[in-house]
Structures are given as C-alpha cells and as structure tokens.
C-alpha cells in the first residue's frame, strides 16, 4: 500500500521544526507503523539524506521508548497499545498521516520525533522508590501479601513510563504517571515507610519541572497503552491530603 506522511523534522533542541512530506510506497499492510518508518529511513539513507530520528527498542509494547503522536493522538488510534504495536492495516490506501513528537514543556525535543523525558526520572528520584530494607529472614517467601492487594498493585505497576499521558493532556500534567507509581507503592508493605514523604516530594518535583495540574479531562487514561485507571489520581489526591494532615501543614 501507499501512504502519505507529514512528519515533524527538527534538526536539534533549539532549532525550528516543521512538518515535511514523505511517501511510503509499497509497504505491506501487515507491517507495524515503526517498520514503515524504518522503510522510509532506509530509503532516505540510500538517497544520502538524514534519517528521521525516533525512539524505540523492544517493539513489543514493553519498554516505553516509542513515543509518536499519530494524527494528533499519542500512540495512535488503537486503545491500549503503544505505537510500536500499531499496524498499517489500521489505515487505508492513500491516507495522509501526521506524525509528531510528544509535546510538553517538560519534554523538550532533542531531534525530530525524539524528546527528552528525563523529567520523569527526576520525579522518580524525588520519591518513586522503596527505601527500606524490609529485613527479616533470608527467605524469598518472607513478604506476605494478600493476593487481591497484590493484583491491584500490579495493575498500577504496569506503567512503562512512556509519557503518552502527558502528551495527551492539555495541561501537560504528569498526574497519571505519578499516581500509578504512588498507588503501586502505597499498596505494598515495602512502600509504607516513605508513604507520605513520597507523594509530596513527587508532586513538588513535577511542579518544578513544568508539568501542569490535573483538571480531570481523562485524556491520559484514554491514551495510556497499559490502560492505567484514572482512579489512581483520586488515590493520589487522598494520599496527598493525608500527607498534609500527617505533616501538620
């Protein structure tokens, strides 16, 4: 099949960018979207041109590296999938497709479709971890946790940190990302010790990095490839209020 592409090209962090036209001719509808970009890149390299930069690694929806906005939607039209798992059969012969990077103040463009997501790392550094050695006997089976709790925690631990939630939000808020982490850790015994300090520190860091606030639009949940529930945000808010009470602020 043949597709018309409008792809964001930007030479470097400070440079001006613009959408440029490309055609992918002779691609198979069985291909994934990223394979199609590989084909475009191969032909650019063969013509002596600069290939289009984009992040990807596993191409299985696991690593969280791929990050494209397809026709205005982070990760494209399929619900609950990363763009590396989007297939061309989702499109029609002759379609025109726009491909852009995540856009958010906290995620500056490095080149073309690649953005710097280290602001997420800084949020983690601020509090997204477990810090105690749970101690006890050296027996792998020592931590005992009811199965239901572990399953809820597991759902929120499914976050791959891709940043689509931020890219979809008109406020560029990192609330879904943070709340997934906070739910996950506050549900497990390993995460109790720092429970209140964590939520405050993460939210403060997100503010400092230029992420916006949450106005409950739900766009984040709609694009999340792991379908992380927006109910985590409510849990995070409760944790935050409790943290403020505990701290006596």
């Amino acid at each position: 099949m043949r597709l018309n592409l409008k792809i964001w090209r930007q030479a470097g962090p400070g440079a001006a960018g613009r959408l440029e036209d490309y055609t992918a001719s002779d691609v198979s509808s069985d291909m994934s979207f990223l394979e199609m970009l590989d084909v475009v890149n191969d032909s650019l390299v063969r013509q002596g041109k600069d290939a289009i930069a984009f992040d990807s690694d596993c191409r299985e929806g696991i690593c969280g590296m791929c990050s494209l906005v397809i026709n205005g939607v982070p990760h494209g039209p399929d619900r609950g999938t990363t763009v590396c798992q989007l297939h061309l059969r989702r499109f029609k012969e002759g379609d025109t497709i726009t491909v852009e990077p995540w856009r958010a103040r906290a995620f500056p463009v490095i080149k073309d479709l690649v953005v710097d997501r280290s602001a997420f790392d800084r949020i983690i550094i601020a509090g997204g971890y477990v810090s105690v050695n749970c101690g006890g006997a050296p027996d792998g089976n020592a931590i005992l946790i009811p199965k239901e709790i572990s399953e809820t925690a597991m759902d929120s631990a499914a976050c791959i940190g891709c940043g689509a939630c931020v890219a979809a939000c008109k406020n560029a808020s990192a609330h879904l990302f943070m709340s997934a982490k906070i739910s996950h850790l506050s549900l497990l015994p390993q995460g109790q010790v720092e429970r209140y300090r964590r939520v405050v520190a993460m939210i403060e860091q997100a503010d400092a990095d230029g992420f916006g606030s949450c106005s409950n639009e739900g766009e984040c949940e709609a694009v999340c490839p792991k379908e992380i529930s927006i109910s985590n945000i409510a849990r995070m808010t409760r944790e935050y209020v409790r943290a403020m009470l505990v701290a006596g602020k």
Binding site: G61, D121, I160
Partner: protein, 595 residues
Amino acid sequence: MTSERVDVLRTDILILGSGGAGLLAALHAFDADSTLDITVVAKGLFGKSGCTRLVQGGYNVVLNREDSFERHFLDTVKAGQFLNDQELVWTLVTQAPRCVYELEHTFGCFFDRNADNTIHQKAFAGQSFDRTVHKGDLTGIEIMNRLSEQVMRRGIRIVEEHRALDLLPDASGRRIAGALIHSVRDGRYLVVRAKAVLLATGGGPTMYRVTAASADKSMDGIAMAFRAGADICDMEMVQFHPTGLLAAASLMTGTVLEEGLRGAGGYLYNGRRERFMERYDPARMERSTRDVVARSSYLEIMEGRGSPNSGVFIDVSHLGAAFVEQNFPGMVKRCRSVGLDLARTPVEVTPTAHFQMGGVKIGPDCASSLDGLYVAGEDAGTVHGANRLGGNGVAESTVFGCVAGDAMAARVTGERLPEVDMPLAAAMVGRTRKSLSPTADGRDIYEVRGEMQRLMWEQVGLVRNGRALAAAAARVRELRARAEDLRAPGSEMFNPGWQDLLNLRNHLVVSEMIARSALAREESRGSHFRRDFTDTREDPVSNIFVRRRNNGNDENDEMDLYRKPVRFSRVRPDGSMGGAVAGAPEPAPLADQGE
C-alpha cells in the same frame, strides 16, 4: 583537530549497559561503598533499553524445600550438554535465592503469590521442578523498573543514549583503563577513565534475519572485548527460541511467545496437524529443551511439513480460553495486536535467534582475561554451555551483576586511576568520524546488512554443515572489509543511519566469530547442530576460544581459535562426581546463602 570535542570523565567504576546485570552491579558496588563514583552508560534509554525488560517467562530459583540446588545445577548442566563452567553454574544456582530475596526486600520488586502468600513458581520447559518465579508475564518490567528507581535514588551517574565504541587500555597496554563513549544524541565523544570497567551490553544475536532480541543491541560488548584482546568462547552456541510469533510480512516475526505456554501443556503441530515432537523427543514432547524444539520445528519446515507461512503451530486452546487469558495476558494481547486469538485458535510460530550463550570468558568474580575488565550477563560466556534453560537468563544477569558489583567495589578500593591511551582514543574517534559523510549515499549499508542477516540465518543458523559454514565465514570477512569503507549520510545529531552502520560493523565481527567457531566444532551439541557431524562426540569436551591475533592493525584484525577441555569440577557427563564436591554433603536449599 579532534580534541575540542572529546570530553574526559573520571570515575571509579564504569558500567556499560543498563540491563539487569548493569543495574545490579551498580547497586551492589554502591551499597558496598557509597563513596565510590559510579557511572552507568546505556546505548538506549536508561531503565527502558535491553532484554532484561523483555523477560516474560520468569526467573529460575530454588525456593521450595522439595527442590534443591543440586537439581537446578544438574538441570542447567544437562541442558548445557556439559559445556558449562560448572563453578559459574554453582554460583548461579546458589546465589539466585538470595538475589530474589534482595530484589523483593531491598529493591522493592514483588512477584506473584500463591494462595498461602508464598512466591508462586511455575513450570518451565527442561526442568525437573517448577521453580520459575514471575510477575504475570511481565516479570522483566517489574525487575527493571524497581532496579532503575533504586539506581536513580542513589544518585549514581547515568549517561543514557550514549554508546560505548571501544574499550581503552592504559598506555602500556597492560590493563583496561576506560572506554570511548559516543553520544547518540549529539555525536560528541567522551573518554571515560575508570579503575574498573564492566561490560554488560547484553549480547543479543540480532545479526540473524529472524531475531527476538531488543533492537538497539548489536553484540557491541563482545565485539569491543574482541578488539581489546579478551578471551571469548563458545560463540557457536546461539540459542534459537522455538516460538517466535509469525505475522506474515511483519517483522513482528521474531517476537517471542513465552516458554510457559509449552510448560503449561501447549501443543506444537506441523502443517499436517501432527504433534511432531513425537518424532524428536517422545518422552518430553513439547516440554523438551529449546534447542531440540527449535531444531525440530526448523526441520519440519525445511522438509515441507510447515504451516502456510513457513512455521509451525502452537496450540493452547485445549487448556481453556479463560485459563490462557488469565495466565498469559501479555501473550494474548500480543497475538491480538496482529489479529490472532491465542486463547482459542492455534497460532503460527517460527524459531527465532534469541540469546548468545557464548561470550567473554569470566572467572568466578566476573573478571575477564584483561586486567580491569569485568563482564556480566549475556556478554559473558560459559554459564549456560551449549543451551540455556528458559528462566536462567535473567537469573544469570542479576546474580552475576551482583557478583561483579561486589568484586569491582573490592578491587578499586585504594587503587589509583590509571591513565588511558589517549592517542589510541583519538585514532578511534577519527575512525568513527570518518564513517559519517554528508556526501555519502549510504546505499550499501542495508545491502550489506541484508546479506549478513540472510547468510547467518541460512548458513550459520539452526542446521549447519561444514561447507556452508566455511563459505559463510569467508563471505562475512569480505563484508567486514566492505563495511569499513561504508559511510553514512546525515548529521551527527541522533542519526539512525549512522548508528546502523556502527552496529553493522560490530555485527560482522561477531558473525565471523560465530561462523568460525561453528566450523571448528565438528560435532553436534546443544544448540549447535551439524548435519555432517550429527553425534555429540567430542572427547575431551572442549570450549572453543576466539582471540584477536595481536597484529596491531585495527581495520583488519585476524582471529585465532583454540580449544581448552572443559573442567568437570562437580559432575562428569557419565554422572560421576567431579573433584569439587565429591564426598561433600548434599546442600540443602537455602542453606548456602551466606548472611
């Protein structure tokens, strides 16, 4: 001319790669001595890149009192067909319980539970006990997320989207003193000086046409170690996973459907609806080891009994759709993304290049033959012998990551920072810079790559013979020379075409090692199957080593091959006890964990 763009960074411990091995090494070194300056470099994004994250199946570990170290040890050595370094295997099995304990208690991982709250362990093929720990089928994400959070919170220096180009010796050439790093993002060069360097770039046989390893890997670690002169061994031992998803024209081909599907009782059918494993391993059937299952599938396909798209079928529908959906949600979803219903219908699969058992030869403390260079994870060789058991890969990268971190922390204490050979670094920068040219047409990069991928798949793949191997080795050598002259077009900034060329050069060096070692092993053993030598006959059983011939010529480094008999330090192939544990009391599970 080059110096203005080469920065120098000093660190105590330099870790190349941020998979399970690299992260645990960083954590262990830091926790041993928090005053150490540690730097982790990753070609991809920190915490996201690498194959550890792709671990679906799980982690083999002895936790149940009815299981034992001895059983895990014997399962591993038998699967490896006695090519393993038995001391490394012993470390693997005895340290794994402690490592899983640490993952949960110190780093915050959390694995699936049984109803009584103990850690759930599931069945994996080729094992005498159900000992595979997991978190749903997304075990790798859990391990990688928790470990990278821990590295970040300790303030360990992270340098992401930077690739190591080569290891750097000191001026005398007697030890490794750092590495030359190249920013994928902006093309800058960085010389890192270090007291100890860990190679943990995670192997990954991505030079095969069908492969399941993560796309950013290109055997860089083994290629760098070779150029630096390290001893490398068992390179002919490439594991093919039997059940890579086949999705017509898509390169989704190669994506793995996990082993647990066979472990849980899945069937394999050929195009005639026969459970063909009956012909190859009637006792174990689909639960036979990977090498046997992958080769059997390949032979079925080659002999014309394959499925419509030249694969075979995996069928788990008889286990019940609800069971499959509940236990393998990731696999079900993966199939659904290409329009297939794993829970209800048979799905086409093909063997796919998955794991490199061979690698840099290491001692018990992960030290290589080069002073100052440590190696852990898939870059290291001889833990798995001729075939790796599913679930032993992540066990290896995590256990040996810990070992390497401890060893390096002990080693660098009180040591002075060695000088690096700066003229050599400058020459390497010049050579890399030459590979980019704004006027290049870049046409040949993908031709050479395509030819390599086909050659490796067809002639150095699952079924081998001497004539084809000799021809492939010679041809790969020609391609290597050709790749040296290729130039990539485009800018220094985040340039995928340039990265592809640098990857290709490393792929070709390692491809030659694989082809030459495979030619030298005139027998069949584990993953290495020779049509012209079908028996497992070598006596004494030996490891095949590759080392660079020291001719000082960068662009044309010849390789020497040599053999060393395997030392059966614990058990011999006839089942009798080897030296190390003969007469020693049988270890009980969990009794040997140290503190």
